[in-house]
Every structure is written in structure tokens, then in C-alpha cells.
Symmetry: C2
Subunit: 217 residues, 2 copies
DNA sequence: CAATGGTGAGTGGATACTCACTCATTTCTA
DNA sequence: TAGAAATGAGTGAGTATCCACTCACCATTG
């Protein structure tokens, strides 16, 4: 599957960061992620994880002492490494290329970031489902993600508002429309396995029109 | 809570339809729904259900023989009674009032149907979370919901396309944009408990602009 | 040998589900 | 109509199973 590469890449970061992670532990993480994505966290047993990882059940518990720690270990790299990089790289790119139209901004978001999300569809899937149910995880995630988006995306939005490229709506609403459109597409294509390329143009046009500024009265 | 009335209403329908459902069984259903919505299906024990319903654990199993049957019983009225009515009433209303602009259509969808969804937020919540994880349930639901939407919404869209009130995009895409925008708002406000009234106008404007037809070249 | 990774049988607790019984209401019968 | 019988919702202690987690032991490497 196309997903495995970037998932591996995400884990690679953790491996590099926190010393060596032995191969079997990596298999445990990979298997956990896959099973959590397929069945959900609560419906996955540690025995299943061991089997899919080709490992004894005790091995599952060698490094991570509880099943919850395993979930955290699977999600952590995404929220602490991948997501920040995602947002910041994007902001940097936008600033560097001096996008002054929402068309350029939206195109960048859709083609670049949506593809990225779809590459990481497994983690995204687990994250979305668990955020819906686990209050603690949701708060923790929002506490990290929201300020990050605010700090990096909002200035850009303000800038575009100033030049009449965006309507004078609250930033959180604009962000919600963009994110909502992306996530709904993401979820849909995570079931139909359709590539972004086919839908991209339509989403761009829809967002571009939807976020057009109201005629100045 | 504002939700309880319409939830009760949904159960009322089933009660009326399939003979008498004794009061304690109704308490079991209500408790199940509430707990499933709060914690998710897999994280809810039958003991918890019994306690919240003020009932012995055996009572939980009198009518519904398994926990899965209980989930089905909680979701069934929504997909078989409420959702069809939701869609058909909407379609009927639209046709009756002869909406010929997308503004009227979108306004109707947002103010009317979104409020309805938020009234049924508990069932929606359970449905959404379980659809993400349970393949069988998802297929079953889509097999019912998709044709219903196609039969009732698509003709209206075609009609509006004909009079240049909608762009010539595939119907499923237009539907996705509308549904995605609504659901993302629904999920957000199911956490922040903000009323629809405040966001409605913005969503309407966003969708109306986003779904404006491209200038005929 | 020390240290670290790996093993898998075993354990305690939780949980979905059962069943023999009670009790109230309804239906049958003399 | 009084009493007997049947019905079925409700009960809660009990059971079989499952599952997260442990631990005493083994293997490999430096």
C-alpha cells in the first residue's frame, strides 16, 4: 500500500530521535497502527497485535507497559513531529512564495496537504476515531493543534483579508470550512480509495468560490 | 437537554410501530444510547447500562439477546424511520415551495436539517463513530442512505443545474460539499455546544458562493 | 558474565451472557 | 365470581470466556 512509506517515515523520526528501537518493536508499532485503523483501538486485542507483528505477546509489553501507552506511541509522532512540520513547512512555503491570492493558497493546501494526509491515512483514521470518543485525548490534541494552526495559518488569512482576497469572517470559520472540506474528502476516499488528483480541481474551485470576499458595499 | 425530546420521539415511533415496549426496556434503550454516545459502544459495559437504566442486568438481555442487537436497536429507528422521513419531507417541501434558487435550497438545508441533526446529536454521534470502524454496519447504512439521497436530492440538483443555479458538477460531489460542511459544523458544535443560529448565515453564504455556477464560457 | 531483547504459559479481574426463580397481571375454569 | 393456571417482565447471583498484563526463563551480543 502507498501508505506504508510515509507511516514508516513517521516512525523513522521517532527512532532517530530517541535512540535505537529494535526491529521487533517497530513491527509491534506497525501492526498496532494497522489494526487500530482497521478495527478501532478498543476492538483490537494485544494477542492480535502480537500475531500480526510475528512476535510473542510478552514482546508487545517489553517497551510499552500498557495498551494505552501503545496508542500514545502510535499517535505521538503524528502530533508532535509530523503535524507541526506539516503546518510550519506549509506556512514557510506560502510566505516564501508570497501567495497573494486565495487561489494560490487553496491550491497549495489541497494538492499538497491533502495528499499528505491521505498518505498518512492510517494514523489519521485512528486519530479521528479516538478523538471522537476519548475526552482526554481530544483536549490534549486540541491544546497542541489549535495554537499551532492559529500561529501559522491565521496571519496568512489576515494578510489575504487585507488585500480583499478573503471575506471578513472569523478565522476559525474560514479554517473550519477548509478543514471540513478536506476531511470529508479524506474520509470518503479512505473508503473508496480514489486518488486526490481526480477530485482536487473541484475542491479547489468550490473553496475558492466559497471563500470569495463579499462585494464591498 | 434539548436532545432528549427528539430522541424520545424517535423511540416513540418504534414503540408505536411494533406493539408495546415495556417502560424498563425503554429505559434500557435510552441508557444505552446515552452511554454509547458518551463513551463509544466498545467502551460501554452492560453493567453500566443496567445501572443507568435503574434495572437489573438480566433485564438488559430480556428483549435484545446480545449487546450488538442493542446497538442495532438503538440505531435502527434512525436509519429506517427518521432519516427517510428527514430526506423525503425535505424533498417534498422543496418541491412544494418551488425553490428555484440555490440560495433557497441551501438556506432550507442549513436552517432546517442541520437543526434536526443537532437535535438528534446522540444518535448521530454513535452512528458516525461506529460507521468509521464497523465495516458491516457501514455497508448496510450506505446501502440504505445513498439510494435515498440519490432518489430525493439528485433530481432537485439536476433541476437547479438546468436553470444555471448550480455548476455542472457530479451530483455526488455537490452533495459531498453540502454534507461535509454540515457534518463538520455538527461535530464541532457537538463539542462546543454552540447553537446553529450563530453559524448558520456564514455557512449559507459559504455554500451559496461555493456552489455558484461557473460563468458560462 | 552482564545487559538487553525476546518468549509464552500463566493469572487475576472484568465482562458478556445465562438461568432458575419471583411476582404481578391476565386468562381460563367450575 | 372465586380460585386456579398461565404468562411474561424482571431479577441478580452465577458462569464461561476473554483479555490485558506478568514473570521466570532463554538467546544473543559486547
Amino acid at each position: 500500500m502507498a501508505t506504508e512509506m510515509s507511516i514508516q517515515a513517521a516512525f523513522q523520526e521517532v527512532m532517530a530521535a530517541s535512540g535505537e528501537i529494535p526491529p521487533k518493536q517497530q513491527q509491534v508499532l506497525t501492526a498496532s497502527l494497522a489494526l487500530f485503523a482497521e478495527q478501532g483501538f478498543a476492538n483490537t486485542t494485544t494477542k492480535q497485535i502480537a500475531e500480526r507483528a510475528g512476535v510473542a505477546e510478552g514482546t508487545v509489553y517489553r517497551r510499552y507497559k500498557t495498551k494505552d501507552e501503545l496508542l500514545a506511541a502510535v499517535l505521538a509522532p503524528f502530533t508532535t513531529e509530523v503535524l507541526p512540520k506539516l503546518v510550519k513547512e506549509f506556512a514557510a512555503k506560502v510566505v516564501r512564495q508570497k501567495y497573494t491570492t486565495r487561489h494560490a493558497l487553496i491550491t497549495a493546501v489541497i494538492t499538497d496537504r491533502l495528499a499528505f494526509l491521505q498518505d498518512n491515512s492510517q494514523v489519521m483514521r485512528v486519530l479521528v476515531t479516538e478523538l471522537l470518543v476519548r475526552t482526554d485525548l481530544r483536549e490534549q490534541f486540541l491544546a497542541r493543534a489549535v495554537p499551532m494552526v492559529q500561529a501559522n495559518l491565521y496571519p496568512i488569512l489576515d494578510q489575504l483579508k487585507a488585500v480583499q482576497e478573503l471575506p471578513d469572517w472569523p478565522n476559525d470559520r474560514i479554517a473550519q470550512f477548509m478543514i471540513g472540506t478536506m476531511v470529508s474528502q479524506f474520509i470518503r476516499s479512505s473508503f473508496t480509495a480514489e486518488p486526490v488528483a481526480t477530485v482536487g480541481p473541484l475542491m479547489i474551485q468550490f473553496l475558492e468560490q466559497g471563500l470569495a470576499p463579499e462585494p464591498t458595499a
